[in-house]
Subunit: 393 residues, 4 copies
């Protein structure tokens, strides 16, 4: 390939221009492992400063116009004010993430806890998150439950499913209008024997039972080794049950590295399924979010890098020569079909993306522009005193 | 525990007496890896001799009264005659396994092949298998598809799902009476990039769509590393969608070792879920089958050992002190709940099983009795000439 | 088997009586995941209180007479005083663990950091740990490095090995008398792309280069999925390079659950290799340590349970009928050789261990005795105010 | 990057011109899984026809001038004649692979078999392979042992190591001149519990003991999930113990797919370590071999594709801006160091490789040229009758 014809170029540029990637408020705060959280300079101290960082990412990339919140990490008194501040900064508040894993009461689980009082408390928090959505105008309630057990016998697998189903039902029924419930799954961590929503099958089954506005979230780091993630993408798209992505990358477990940094070919294959199903456009209702930890690298710059990685994978996916691919597939020409796909993957799309940014009035090299902008130096000077945001604050 | 009170003893013995384990005809034939099939002495040369071996296993264990067939490996002209022979030998023909992976036409798939002619052929074979079921009186059609692709781009993931759904629909509609369709999943092998039914979620979703008599098969060797199999057991039991097990064990991939030989604690946890859901009794409709390869060890003896391993895990599961477990779970006493489970697991149930066999008029030590019986020596002498059965014959 | 003859019984009891299991000071403090540390009642606030907890475990089990320290978590002004206090409590101070992963300087590594100043600081800490050993009389310096990188290209793999070799050399040369350097490996976490000592091969190669008093530590939770740990045990024993174990168990990654709780059969196979190599006796120089986190279960009770689990696995390993096993192995009788091993594993050794404890003047049921003792209630009342110990304190 | 300056271009082209990739005779024969070997048209029927296929790959790629043999699969009466034929075809015979896994005697192992007579036979075969090397002028004896066990207890792990060491010693001592022994490791398959040489550490330890001309082979498909292969490359290069690669790729186990087809970024990282250590040049003594199975795709074309994949990864590795990388690494600039690496990876090197081929007098598009050549049609017509080569023939 290498040479991209003008029609394709235009089609790809238009699609990329429409693309939307949501960044998470918590990516701007401090994070780490159980061994150590290394603090960084210039880290936000409150949701407003996180919003400012997210807006900065959007200013340089042009495709990240919303920021996801995590409740209670992003608890504020006045969500309308926060939404207004975001608007001033040029972005909007996005998905609301309910956090039911950091209260001492949740030691043995939140919505699946054997104690009904704890379950009530957890469900109460889910409902409060919908209140927040009402205030922020957010469409999506994203639910990830850390619930599970560490030891065989610790609790009844089946009864925990019953409790989960009941909690989901209550949250779902609280939704109104176009609001959606997005259910995320994860193989393990922090639970080390049983996780109550460990895989896409479990999330899918519960969403089926709930109804149309319940959808599955795929976090790319939440699978067992060897899992073919693009299969899950294709399957859920076919079933109309893919609601969102939490993008990140990993070599081992839920490493939460920058998306595209560990296996860029996998990211491309995922985006290929999206493009094949014509599911890239925002109107299709799939939320493309980042969910990452920048434990050792500067955070805003890392988020910009991550947004670019998603863009590059998308551009390559958009370059796949579909008629040639389909013809080779139908003919059973294994090598040719694979070659058509690889041809797109092997194309250097960075010139195309520079062109896109110029069309959009952006600097063609967002990382360099960000570094030149002095933003980090400025917030490092300003954000002194107070408590840096992190998991839990 | 250690001491088992008389009431428990009686309850456990009664449950074990009712237990049924189906052995697979192909376990008696030669098998191996892609590197080598090591031939063994006394291996059957036809389905009749496989039935004789299966009957031998039942004679010594008392709980393996059926044998599963694999079509076309067990192709005969007259299934009624084969069924009659089985009956003479003291057993019955069980599950029919459709094999659509060994014809040259299936190189790029069977029911999901891009070529409609190949798909028709594959579906035709599925329907013929139901004909066999009509002749043998078998209840279950077990479907495992090796279908998938080796390279990204080779075929459309989504279209293969469409083709799969269509094939399953045709097979399901051909069923009558109490006949069931059992759908098996497998992470990988022989396909090395995409497998069309790679996980329980996929099998479950298709079975849901098909209807009540479509159920999922769990092969204990078909999961990604780290998968919590007993969770899947519990989930499918709760959903009424667990149809059968293919028991075996593995350290790495689909190693097909003797069940209980790699991780006996896992087998116990699986049987614990079965017992908790009261799903052990044959009337509950779960088929407990073996699906193993005895590549280097004598086959009949290995199958006997495997049946005993399932029995031992079941006996331990039946010994779990449910009131104590439930009380500890409800109290959130992690260590006590785990201890109750481990107490049962740590109990040596072999004396109890010897007692069971004596009650059933069997030798208390089936392996020793089998070895003393001279069966292997006899069939080794008899089964000379002809072609030993294996995968493909 | 089931019936154990008197000679075997005596031999096994004598071996079990000699067994020594070291508990780690940090198992008594609070721990958790990156998501949350759930505080527990009665948790120690300083190294003295940790020693008191370790002594309690020894008082009830009789086989845990030493406690490992973690520097700087267990920093005290006067180690001789701490050692004296331990002696009063009936135990001794054991292995010294150097911690070079919790200072902000170590964000990009400690001894392998690209910055020579950071490397000097880290090496300095290792040398200080030998000072502590001189003060406590500890034999072993255990080194685990969290060092590694998160992104490809971040640093030079090879130069990091050079730096590692240099740091190890300096630490090794500082040792005197019978002091040893024990090098631990780990697949990943907290580094998510490259870990500088990721596997036993790396640790072994460095220890070979260092000399005789450098030995490898096997942490049972630090391997890739599918790793045959008992192979590593056997290999290192044959090479004279196995220095110690960090026992714990895991279903997924480095879960740090109670040893024997996830795969008791694996623990038995490990102890079988130890027994076969006659390496159980303390004089053989293998240190058997626990390294666990009790995130949701009461800590002292969990440590007692863990010690019992190691004892039970050891007892089973000691019961293996070696002449029968060897005969079956030599004869190539796969099923019989496996059966001999399983016969020992399937034996309920709890009566034997109760007998052992009675001989040793202990309560036959250490968990029950501990619970009756009121220890937890007492320390919960006493340990009020101050800062509970955890990772980092 | 994108634009490559002329000096770099020249340096890269020169390095690529020198590169040598060995193709394996067995890649041209039929292969498959335990489930099915799908026969293909035009497959060679003897070693001469395999040599012809290998020569064809070299004719179109220009960098594959040797072919590895597998004894006894490539048994001929007169190796000098086969070598002469190869020369006529424009290539040479390369590495000799000893096969001690397909005789019925090897059911329980070859050189580690409990039966000394079987061990003697296996060692005899190794020595015969050195005879073949003497005849062919091959430098390298590559040893992969399928030896291991399927069940715990089946044999003594340690004694098998003793037997292995003895066999390796005898083979090593038989070598003369510049001949080398290359020892390959593999996690599992066909052994399913214990593999006697399961990891690089084991191979490395034995090679150390043998001496300078014993080196480790890295087969890229032979690792546990999550293994960082480029770490092993870097480590063995630093230790002077990396002898060769067996290239292929995998998503799951030892899938033996075309190199670079599953994770092209990993292949690039491996080649980056090679380039950093200046180990690409043939004079450095690292043998770069393919070891693949083309179960469903046309074989010669697939081998050509694989050679190109290695070339592309190498070209990218050669483009890494080393001064920039080193500067970023030293400065601890995580994102910049990663960006320098990714910049090279993201470059489309296909134009550069077309240029290389034109300089070498080759068609710039080897796959297209091969397809146009009519080679497959010709051999399909010619190679009729006789027995197609496969594993075992």
């Amino acid at each position: 390939m290498t040479e991209i014809d003008p029609t394709t170029r235009r089609r790809v540029l238009d699609a990329l221009r429409e693309q939307r990637i949501e960044t998470p408020s918590w990516a701007y705060g401090n994070s780490g492992t159980r061994f150590k959280v290394f603090a960084q300079e210039g880290v936000p101290r409150d949701p407003y400063e996180k919003v400012a960082d997210a807006a900065t990412v959007h200013r340089f990339t042009g495709v990240a116009p919303t920021v996801a919140l995590h409740i209670p990490w992003d608890l504020v008194d006045d969500y309308a004010a926060l939404a207004g501040y975001a608007k001033e900064q040029g972005i909007e508040l996005g998905t609301i993430n309910a956090n039911v894993f950091q209260d001492d009461d949740y030691k043995l689980g939140s919505v699946t806890n054997p104690d009904p009082a704890v379950r009530r408390k957890a469900i109460g928090h889910l409902l409060e998150c919908v209140d927040v959505m009402d205030a922020t105008g957010s469409r999506d309630l994203k639910l990830w439950f850390s619930d599970g057990t560490n030891y065989p016998g610790q609790d009844s697998i089946r009864q925990r499913q019953d409790r989960l189903a009941e909690a989901l039902r209550q949250a779902y029924e609280r939704l109104t209008g176009r609001q959606r419930l997005l259910l995320e799954y994860k193989l393990f961590e922090p639970a080390f024997y049983l996780t109550d929503v460990p895989d896409w099958g479990t999330a899918y089954a519960h969403c089926l039972e709930l109804g149309e506005r319940a959808q599955v979230v795929i976090d790319t780091g939440h699978h067992a080794p060897g899992t073919n993630i693009e299969f899950i993408v294709a399957f859920l798209l076919r079933a109309g049950k893919l609601g969102a992505f939490d993008f990140n990358s990993r070599f081992y477990a839920d490493d939460d590295l920058m998306v595209g940094s560990a296996d860029p070919f996998q990211l491309f294959r995922i985006m290929h399924e999206i493009v094949q199903a014509d599911a890239l456009r925002p109107s299709q209702g799939i939320a493309f979010m980042l969910d990452q930890c920048h434990n050792i690298e500067p955070k805003v710059q890392a988020v910009i890098r991550s947004v670019l990685n998603v863009q590059e994978a998308t551009a390559k996916a958009l370059l796949v020569d579909v008629p040639a691919l389909t013809a080779a597939q139908r003919a059973g020409d294994v090598l040719e079909a694979n070659a058509v796909l690889m041809d797109a993957y092997n194309t250097d799309v960075r010139p195309l993306l520079r062109e896109l940014r110029e069309e959009m009035g952006l600097d063609p090299d967002p990382v360099a522009a960000y570094k030149r902008s002095g933003y980090l130096e400025r917030v490092t000077a300003e954000r002194v005193g107070g408590q840096q945001a992190g998991w839990g604050a």
